[in-house]
Amino acid sequence: MAVRLFNHAFDPWTLVRERERRLPLEGFGACAVFAGRMRDFNEDQDVRALFLEHYPGMTEREMERIVAEAESRWPSITCEVAHRVGAVEPAETLVLVAVWSAHRVAARDACSEILERLKHEAPFWKRERLADGSQRWVEKNTPGH
């Protein structure tokens, strides 16, 4: 398991590739990845910037708990999870969930499950700055199941 918070832009594919350099890939036939980026629209309005508030300490604990519970439910998997905090510009990566497994079903299911739990359990809050300069807190995530 590797869980990371970034307060600056990061490239998800570099993280994935670096993690793979340390994995015995002959045993991990499947890799499922989800990368979420900041869009420049939400609920029909232009969004110019995003601030991701979090709860230092609890956020890391929650991310580790979520990944540990997935690794317990799917024992064959190994994971790399990263999340952005602080000020974010459009197109920058907000979240990365990468899961390796011997088989595709476990990789895919665990990747989805970790992402959904991150969105609903890890203490992050998005504040959007709109085109007219006003700010608003995102009230809830879109359903993913």
Binding site: Y55, H83, L94, K119, A122, P123, F124, W125, E139, N141
Partner: protein, 76 residues
């Protein structure tokens, strides 16, 4: 007992500060009691954590606890 209370996101903005250090009597036994003691009726969809673990309004609180209140999370 003494409890550290933290607020996040729009709750922090609405309350106007990010934390309270409070000393309460035995009448405050749960997370919900603590909110009512400080702020009155809890808002809909109030979330809480005790010592950085998700909690409910009926979760007990103890001396020295770190309690946090926040709105539904929106990460990912």
């Amino acid at each position: 007992m003494t409890i550290t209370v933290q607020y996040f996101a729009n709750l922090r903005e609405d309350i106007g500060r990010d934390r309270d250090e409070v000393t309460v009597t035995g009448e405050v036994q749960t997370v919900g009691d603590l909110w009512r003691h400080l702020h009155g009726a809890p808002p809909a969809r109030l979330m809480a954590a005790v010592n950085q673990t998700h909690a409910r309004l009926d979760t007990p609180v103890a001396d020295g606890d770190e309690v946090a209140f926040f709105p539904p999370v929106t990460g990912g």
